[in-house]
Amino acid sequence: MFEAKIDAIVLRECIESITAVVDEGKLRIAEDGLKLRAVDPANVAMISFELKRDAFDDFHFEKGSDAEAANESPAATEVGIDFNKLQGILGIGGSDEVNLKLDEQAQKLFTRMGSLAYTVSLLDPASLRKEPKVPELEFPVQVIIKTDEFRRTIRAAEKIGDHIMLGVDGDEFYMEVEGDMDKLRLGLRKEQLIHLTPGTLHSLYSLDYVAAMSKGMSHADNITLNLGKDYPLQVDFEVADGKGKVSYLLAPRIESE
């Protein structure tokens, strides 16, 4: 049994951060909140999402007597949700409080936003892509940057090329896009950033993915970029006033010789 109340803006923010990477996923509901981990169809991007129960105005979760689920994970239940659809409906719902209620028997999620009631049919978790293993990664460099600054650069970059280089050169963090004709470079000194680990390295990423991710992080003030040399990129940021955490992982691009 799961029943909760949450501010519509907070919920929308969370779902936007999820749909930036995947359309659907297995949401894990437990006593301490919600969790999700999913990869995109190409296995290039991954999201780890976490929302604590404090983010909700009201949160009830009780493990049902469902024996099968009880074996697997004692205090959690998994539901497959089409987030893309949910996002569309929430957009209509306005900024009221949202009531969520899960009916595990009927495999439906009831949402109510003010006078608008929406019943979501759940997806069969078995039909969804398996939850990915989180690889053990060590990032030598960490950069904390204002989200607006990052997003602005990505928006400009999209007009120029289709992949972007993120790197650190000594005390400078830079983002570089090279198109057929043009080149764009943003260089920020340590003083202009919130935090920077000095180093010399860079990696190349597919801009489509970075751009999609930048849409998902629009509500966060700062983002943390974890970088390596020809290494995956990990972007961490907070949602719901620090009561939720999102982390994107993006595999690097390899250029053909």
Binding site: P41, A42, N43, V44, M46, P132, K133, P135, L137, S206, D208, Y209, Y231, P232, L249, A251, P252, R253, I254, E255, S256, E257
Partner: protein, 486 residues
């Protein structure tokens, strides 16, 4: 465990390359490709093609498992339009995985990209294969459906049907592992029935193991239910329709229905074969019904009302069978005649070999030159001018002039001379060179007129059957009207 829903074809999928049975040579090639694939400038994609159930996909997965590569699969059940392929396979083919391993992309049944759902899929795949940094395996039944462009960028590996003996050994191993009691003879029969398709053999085995009783060993007789639903064989059906199995209208009709052919094709088969079966009188009788049937087929076309197929089928099966009644008693029993094959028109064209086919491109080239020179449509030149050029080439002087005007090369001249006399062709070519500078530009325009006149000439000859040779003066008289005509 018998009730378990896991498909055996998945459960017993080979985990290592050497467990993939049959096709040792193909596996060897695949291994070699996989060793080189990460080097620079290698072919990043491999096409594994062969009949169904011979281990193409299994080999791809086994390879990935052996190499520790991560797999992304897009099979026929996914939507594979250009957009989907670009957005999923595209990034996957140029990115590593999170754990920095190589990523193998498997595109199953890559020859089956068709319909509006998959529009543009093949082109998208070709583009991606060109730029990919990660290995890609495409599996296909028919490599010719995949286009030359794509094949050029891929290593093509051929898989063959699996021999019945090998199928039998695999079935034995699986049934031992699953603790199913089954006779060897039953397994042999299953293996034969599979026609080299290991997957269907394993599926049959699983189906039988579920349906048969657990107590006794399964014998050969028990697997009667396990026969695959085989598509009717056209010659078997024809013999029923021609009354070889007795005079039974119902069975003739259901035999026709068992065929995986449209009535439009069936009627051709029946027509092609049954003229050899009957005497004149009953042939006429049958033909009468066939023509009635054909009328219904025409109605289907005109009105797009496919219900009429029912009448067409009935008429062609039962009507032809009824012709047998007429000659009943005249002939003793039914003897199998030599089978006459009917081929669809497009197949006939493709299989045609010999002169016509060989000279096709040459005629096209000539038509193009004439079209450019005389400003006529290429199709016109191909059908109305090219066939008559050899006649002009009988006269050497004319041959040289035409050669000069059209700028023909030696092989083309040789072709027009009848493909035999290479020396003569060279002679004409040189004459043509001697002719052209002397005459200069003015003469070129006159030659143009000559050729145009000739073009017109033989058209007129075709229509009016006028004698081929005409006076120069007369030609120039005609010239105006004819050039106007073009």
């Amino acid at each position: 465990m018998r009730g378990s829903s896991v498909e055996w074809t998945e459960k017993y999928r080979p985990k290592k390359l050497r467990e993939v049975v049959g096709n040792e040579k193909a596996i060897e090639e695949l291994t070699k490709w996989a060793e080189d694939v990460l080097k620079a400038k290698s072919k990043k994609a491999a096409i594994l093609h062969g009949p169904a159930g011979c281990g193409k996909t299994s080999a791809a997965y086994a390879l990935a498992a052996e190499k520790g590569w991560e797999v992304i699969e897009l099979n026929a059940s996914d939507q594979r339009s250009a957009g989907v392929i670009k957005s999923i396979v595209g990034p996957a083919s140029t990115s590593t995985t999170f754990s920095q391993t190589t990523r193998l992309i498997i595109l199953d049944e890559a020859d089956n990209l068709h319909g509006t759902e998959d529009r543009g899929g093949t082109k998208a795949i070709t583009e991606i294969v060109k730029r990919s940094t990660q290995p890609i395996i495409l599996t296909a039944n028919d490599k010719y459906k995949m286009g030359q462009g794509l094949q050029r960028y891929c290593k093509v590996i051929t898989f063959e049907q699996i021999k019945a003996g090998t199928v039998f050994r695999v079935l034995r191993r699986i049934s031992d592992d699953a603790e199913i009691k089954i006779d060897d003879s039953a397994l042999i029969s299953l293996a034969k029935n599979a026609h080299g398709d290991l997957r269907s053999a394993i599926n049959d085995l699983q189906a039988i193991s579920v349906s048969e009783s657990k107590l006794e060993s399964i014998r050969e007789e028990d697997i009667a239910t396990g026969w695959r639903d085989v598509e009717g064989d056209i010659f078997g059906v024809l013999s029923v329709i021609f009354g070889a199995e007795g005079y039974d209208i119902q069975s003739a009709l259901s035999a026709l229905y068992s065929l995986d052919k449209t009535p439009e094709e069936s009627i051709q088969w029946i027509y092609k074969n049954f003229s050899y079966e009957y005497d004149d009188e009953s042939f006429l009788h049958g033909l009468h019904y066939l023509s009635r049937s054909d009328m219904f087929l025409g109605r289907v076309r005109r009105r797009e009302n496919y219900k009429f197929w029912r009448y067409a089928s009935s008429l062609m099966a039962c009507g032809v069978l009824s012709a047998k009644e007429m000659q009943e008693g005249k002939r003793e029993g039914w003897e199998r005649r030599k089978q006459r094959y009917f081929r669809s028109p497009w197949q006939r064209v493709r299989l045609q070999e010999g002169e016509d086919r060989k000279s096709g491109p040459m005629q096209e080239e000539l038509a193009k030159k004439i079209a450019d020179y005389s400003k006529v449509p290429r199709s016109y030149a191909l059908f109305f001018v090219v066939p008559f050029l050899p006649i002009f080439f009988e006269d050497e002087r004319k041959a040289a002039e035409i050669t000069a005007s059209l700028r023909l090369d030696v092989p083309q001249i040789a072709f027009l001379l009848g493909d035999t006399d290479k020396e003569k062709a060279k002679q004409i070519y040189q004459d043509a060179f001697a002719v052209s500078p002397k005459r200069g530009k003015e003469r070129v325009s006159e030659k143009e007129r000559v050729v145009k006149a000739e073009v017109g000439e033989e058209e007129r000859r075709k229509i009016e059957k006028v004698e081929p040779k005409e006076e120069e003066g007369k030609e120039s008289e005609n010239q105006k009207t004819l050039t106007n005509f073009f």
